[in-house]
Amino acid sequence: MDQSKIRNFCIIAHIDHGKSTLADRIIEKTGLLTSREMQAQILDNMDLERERGITIKAQSVRTVYKAKNGEEYIFNLIDTPGHVDFNYEVSRSLAACDGAILVVDAAQGIEAQTLANVYLALDHDLDVFPVINKIDLPSAEPQRVIDEIEDIIGIEAQDAPLISAKNGIGIEEVLEAIVEKIPAPKGDAKKPLQALIFDSLYDSYKGVIVFCRIMEGSVKKGTPIKMMATGATADVVEVGYFGAGQFIPCDELSAGMVGYITASIKNVKDTAVGDTVTNAQNPCDKPLPGYKKVQSMVYCGMYPADGAKYPDLRDALEKLQLNDASLHYEPETSIALGFGFRCGFLGLLHLEIIQERLEREYNLDLVTTAPGVIYKVHKTDGEVIDLTNPSNLPDPTEIDYMEEPIVSAEIMVTKEFVGSIMELCQERRGRYIDMEYMEETRALLKYELPLNEIIYDFFDALKSRSKGYASFDYEMKGYEESQLVKLDILINKEEVDALSFIVHKDSAYERGRKMCEKLKDEIPRHLFEIPIQAAVGGKVIARETVKAMRKDVLAKCYGGDITRKKKLLEKQKEGKKRMRQIGNVEIPQKAFMSVLKLDEK
């Protein structure tokens, strides 16, 4: 394969700016696939992704483009996840490319996430060229957006194609630009194999399918390979490239190419994203840079609503993990919720996605506890514990001090909302770092925020306080000492472990009060009065009461009523079934979740 005829690139964009639609058009225009074969969006092949309009797992596709100069080019389009939770995956996908198309919405202009992704791409030395999308919108201001790109990002944008991916306008221009502006790959097919894993997928027939970009050397059936970071070895069974929606085997993948390898590998853990594949008998000198072991940032407990479904939940998590190495879980037991798992996620979106997949694809009813971050507990005896479950917090007398993770956040917001967003950051214990005006109407706010303040509902709050105009991006900064306490909830005088969480001591009262109020609404009345209390270190700081039930009776029931009344009783019984018994109080499952959304009015 002539390297000069290969273009490896990705598309970067803010959510909803039209990345996937453009990808579809590129695939359509480059043939290999008729319009009839096109699904609405080819790259996002998980239902959930299509519904949420975001890409969760990086996908990739190879197409053939006949350019105006008469030559045929191979386009390897590597799709990148579009959310801050998946930053590492994004960075590895970028590393597999030689250039990037930056899609900017002609009406919305640059957003915080656009910037973050562009900088990430520039960090990887990618050649980035902009495309202005949605020019058919009445509110489109392409020239303003072009100026903005030049001013803020500092890349040439005057000749950016003006397109509408949705309506197929300007796609040819984009294809030509790919040929002209994205450099051909380099690399020597004679050198020892050096390939970057940017994703992997578990297939029940083929085992793990490794998605990789060959940097140096070549690989084919029978090549003994080794993953340099995980140390896993295997013999290659098949290599090939990505047709749209299918795997097409080929004889060999060589330097500059993008494709897949299968080697009867049983677990995606062995093929970590960012790892380097080399020839086990003729290894390269050193692995490609940038490999990181993926760290979970957010933890929560996941329990089956029906205790008997515990094995089902375990099986489902096992299956999901085959495809998602960033999902961590280990069994745990809660007094309130029984047997379940403490699960680790890249972020809250990742958590929500896993939760939804468990519920939809595996038909499980889940109870999720409040998500928390990893706290570092420094004990007086010098031991340091990574605390992921508030219930495991040692006795206060054994604690010297605690630390919590801090992130550097960038928030882009239009001028009129700067005040309210700063207020929000202040409320969330943010530390103001800097503010710069990107242009007259827009500012970039920089804050350092404790991660535990943003995992709950920060994103929602941000959107609602800016009428949707703020965008947000963050990265881990490190740990800082902090005055943290464990807030316990007592229902009818019994501590409910699943409702405990770690909170800054200044927020404890407020949070405790809100928790009690929320729980009061969620817990149905019983035959007796139920006190709900929030306590810190055994001291009650807030209290609400669920009054006793006085009346629960159907005044009449005659011949014509019986079926309907029976249904009412059945419904009541169903409701009871979904309750958790704590002492002699029945707590509905959703009470455990409702406390995640304390700011909802």
Partner: protein
């Protein structure tokens, strides 16, 4: 010849002069339906024949008939006479069968009542609801208390010796004191039976969308407790959650529902239970007039489990509760075996009592009946 089995009959007359604001029964305004009434009665007669042959009417003897609605007294008494005549012609009746008609104050006169009486109707049920005109207005009723009192006296004169009065508590703006006054008024009249319902604001009724000042839960329960106490003193025994009667005057017909006896219902929306087959009639007047009686979609053969669930939740509505012996005899398993631990749990909580072979709700249990009943469905 084998002995005939007891059967009850229900006839639905879905016409009203005006629909009340809280009512969720199926009825149509009389004025718009004058054409249909005759057709409807003719269909009723046909349905009576149909159900008789369909469900082996010859194996039964009728122990009770109930004309409900709607307002059965709003249509010409001839129709009632005709229907009853039809029923008697088709089924065999017990000599002392209880035959009830619901009447609304203001819709009857001496002729009407006399026609009923002569036709063999031996029980009247007055839909009074309140003795207070202000409250009647709130409910959207068309009568006043004075009319009722006159109708009541008239009924006595005509010869009715078994009369029920329907009352409603927890009416918007009602106080405990006004409820007490209501009870006193009716006790003074000395009917044989009183049904006292606590208002349920049902979805789909005008009340549901109105802003109502309903009595607090405490007041509502105080009214309920007072009802039992006052009526007991006056000689009425509570035998069901909302029903009170002088000894021997409990409503036979309704008890059949709660004991899951066999019954056939005629007319739109009427329900039937024959063995373990539950049938509901269609709710569309058009369909009914075209001769489609049963709603085939909701017709269901109850499983033994469902039958037992019904037996429990319906039986517990009565103060005598469920007879353990009758239960095992009918369903082939004891209550304890079928619902292990449940009875004990609620006995412990003071909501159920188990005495002399019966399981029944305590006074407190009556207030919280659903919590107990839902364990059995």
């Amino acid at each position: 010849m084998t002995e005939k089995k007891p059967l009850s009959l229900y006839v639905h007359i879905p016409f009203c002069i005006k629909k009340c604001l809280y009512c969720d029964f199926l009825s149509f305004p009389l004025k718009s339906q004058t054409q249909n009434i005759e057709n409807y009665v003719n269909q009723l007669c046909r349905e009576i024949e149909y159900k008789n042959s369909q469900y082996s009417g010859e194996e039964y003897r009728v122990i009770s008939v109930f004309f409900g609605g709607g307002t059965p007294s709003s249509i010409d008494a001839r129709y009632i006479e005709k229907i009853l005549c039809k029923l008697r012609g088709v089924f065999s009746f017990d000599k002392d069968a209880e035959i009830t008609i619901e009447v609304n104050p203001g819709t009857v006169d001496e002729d009407k009542l006399t026609t009923y009486y002569k036709a063999g109707i031996n029980r009247l049920s007055f839909g009074l609801q309140s003795a207070c005109d202000e409250e009647l207005k709130t409910l959207g009723r068309i009568h006043n208390y004075d009319t009722f009192e006159k109708n009541f006296a008239l009924a006595r004169r005509v010869g009715f010796t078994n009369i029920n009065v329907d009352l409603m508590s927890a009416i918007p703006n009602q106080t405990v004191a006004s409820w007490e006054w209501n009870l006193n008024q009716i006790i003074r009249l000395n009917p044989e039976h009183i049904s006292a319902y606590s208002l349920i604001v049902e979805e789909g009724t005008p009340f549901y969308d109105m802003e109502l000042k309903l009595p607090s839960e405490e007041d509502e329960r105080a009214m309920y407790a007072m009802t039992g106490d006052k009526l007991l003193t006056a000689g009425y025994e509570q035998y069901e959650i909302s029903n009170y009667g002088k000894p021997g005057f409990e409503c036979k017909h309704n008890i059949v529902y709660w004991k899951r006896g066999d019954y056939l219902g005629f007319g739109i929306s009427a329900a039937s239970l024959v063995g373990n087959l539950r049938i509901s009639n269609v709710t569309s007047m058009e369909d009914y007039l075209l001769g489609q009686y049963e709603d085939t979609e909701t017709k269901e053969l109850l499983s033994l489990q469902e039958e037992m669930g019904e037996a429990m939740f319906l039986g517990l509505r009565m103060t005598e509760g469920v007879s353990e012996e009758a239960f095992v005899k009918r369903y082939g398993i004891t209550i304890t075996d079928q619902y292990p631990g449940v009875i004990e749990k609620y006995v412990r909580q003071g909501l159920l009592e188990r005495r002399k072979g019966h399981i029944f709700l305590t006074k407190e249990g009556m207030n919280l009946a659903n919590a107990v009943m839902c364990e059995f469905v």
